[in-house]
């Protein structure tokens, strides 16, 4: 069980921002922090890792106190067992993939930990290469493997997939989910991609300007209440709205597919291009066929 609460004044683009957050995560959960950039998501990860100190706050991880501003306890980043995947991956350019992983070993740890991770994350062919010669996805996998070397109690992922193309993104989401389950990790993922949050997280918190405005499972938050009886739900971005004979038609980008939806429930144009929407349908006539 991991509990934390933070208060911190941050200097943001639009002036000062108060970050305020209370949170509880069960072991093995994957929590997503969702929100626009500048909402304070990364700062939350940095405070958990000890790279930033909140004005007031507590962190308790599996019974151990990492931070308590009232008692003046504030463990250094070195003493907190976190794995951190940075947005720019922060791989050490002077070391090979293998050396990057080995650098993370504690003195008491066996060198075989690195071998295991190289095998699980399929870095065998890349292990003697320097980060500069790797593709974005390969660098991301290396960063993920390195973050796992110390067997962290908390894995922190800071928009880990934002620099990758769609296909690579999907593949790496699967990798992250696989290691998350295999190592029974407790993970916090920062993302501004709703599809990613949907796919990956058990629980999500939406941050707006430093405050949690809602939380719950992704399905509850983004679809549950509005369209209760629908059997089929998709989240996407509106790319086109048109009105033909009084009937609205909306084109929605879901993942990398465009979906045409006759929007029977719309009576006026409160939906515009760029909005994020939930598409719900009742499937009366579903057809599913396999693609060879």
């Amino acid at each position: 069980m991991i509990q934390f609460s933070f208060h911190k004044k941050l200097k943001a683009v639009g002036g000062e921002m108060r970050l305020q957050l209370d949170c509880e995560i069960k072991k093995g959960q994957l929590l997503a922090l969702y929100g626009e950039s500048g909402a304070g998501k990364t700062s939350v990860l940095r405070m958990l890792a000890g790279l930033m100190t909140p004005d007031k706050g507590q962190i308790e991880v599996n019974g151990k106190i990492w931070l308590d501003s009232r008692e003046n306890i504030n463990l250094k980043p070195q003493l907190r067992k976190t794995g951190f995947v940075f947005q720019d991956y922060a791989l050490f350019p002077n070391m090979t993939v293998r050396e990057n992983l080995e650098f993370g070993l504690d003195k008491s740890q066996e060198a075989s930990t690195v071998n295991d991770l190289i095998e699980i994350i399929e870095l065998g062919d890349l292990q003697h290469r320097k980060p500069a010669t790797l593709s974005g996805g390969q660098q991301q996998r290396t960063a993920l493997a390195r973050a796992l070397v110390r067997q962290p109690e908390l894995l922190l992922l800071d928009e880990p997939l934002s620099a990758l193309d769609h296909a690579m993104r999907v593949k790496l989401q699967d990798y992250i989910l696989q290691v998350h389950r295999q190592f029974n990790l407790t993970t916090i993922l920062v993302s501004h991609e709703i599809s990613e949050v949907f796919k990956m997280s058990d629980y999500m918190m939406e941050l707006v300007h430093g405050k949690v405005i809602r939380q719950g499972t992704p399905l509850e938050l983004f679809s549950g209440n509005n369209l209760p009886e629908d059997q089929f739900k998709m989240v996407g971005d509106v790319v086109k709205v048109e009105q033909i004979n009084g009937q609205y038609f909306v084109q929605v980008l879901v993942g990398n597919q465009i979906v045409d939806v006759p929007a029977n429930n719309l009576s006026d144009t409160d939906i515009k291009v760029g909005d994020r929407v939930v598409v719900g349908t009742e499937i009366l006539n579903g057809r599913v066929s396999k693609i060879d």
Binding site: A49, R80, T82, F86, L91, P93, F103
Partner: protein, 224 residues
């Protein structure tokens, strides 16, 4: 005839100065690249002063400070048996101060330009500041270290004013090549002066050329 003593002495001085400055500048540059203290600009200014100050000014104050007639110089002589005027040791101390910016600036620039996430990644992996500095930061600023080492070496070879002020012109002890040139010109031995000068010119050219070849990646491209 050309004597080798001044040339050997020049290289000895440059080598000792470079080694000492490397040891001093790494912690100093690291502190300057991290610190947000109020006194940081003052320290930065002091480090940069030798760039703009006439060498004679620096030499003059060092001469006053190191003189056994004054408190500091007397203290050095009494407690460490160290006499810093008209001695090789004095030249080393003066050179270290005089070449300080040439070593500190490239290292500081290198450290400041590294993304802070590298340091943070190492901390999160449980590594101390020291391990991070030596295993992560310094290996990734090798071109800057090379620039600092070579510039310091070359700059010390080219020293004149400071050396003359506090070292004088004692053969085999403080008479370095640049002083020897001056000395020979005074004695109207233009041939010998030319020999020393040509030598200094060639050495400085080669040293600087090496830096540009290595840091510009020209050598790597050529050897591949």
């Amino acid at each position: 005839m050309i004597e080798w003593d001044p040339i050997i002495l020049t290289f000895e001085l440059a080598l000792v100065t470079t080694v000492l400055l490397l040891l001093i500048s790494i912690p100093l540059a690291y502190w300057l690249s991290r610190s947000e203290k109020k006194m940081k600009p003052v320290i930065e200014t002091l480090v940069s002063m030798p760039l703009v100050l006439p060498p004679t000014v620096l030499g003059f104050y060092l001469l006053i400070a190191f003189s056994p007639n004054n408190a500091f110089g007397k203290m050095l002589l009494d407690t460490f048996d160290l006499r810093l005027i008209f001695s090789f040791e004095g030249l080393v101390v003066a050179s270290v101060i005089y070449s300080l910016p040439f070593m500190v600036h490239p290292i500081q620039a290198g450290l400041s330009n590294l993304p802070s996430s590298l340091t943070e990644a190492a901390y999160v992996l449980g590594k101390s500041k020291r391990t991070t500095l030596f295993k992560v930061l310094l290996p990734n600023i090798k071109p800057n270290l090379l620039t600092g080492i070579v510039l310091t070496f070359a700059h010390t070879i080219g020293e004149f004013g400071v050396v003359l002020m506090i070292g004088g012109n004692i053969p085999g002890k403080t008479k370095v090549a640049s002083i020897a040139v001056y000395d020979e010109v005074e004695a109207l031995n233009y041939g010998v002066a030319n020999a020393y000068s040509l030598f200094l010119f060639a050495v400085s050219f080669l040293i600087l050329l090496t830096v540009y070849l290595v840091n510009g990646g020209y050598l790597k491209r050529y050897w591949r």
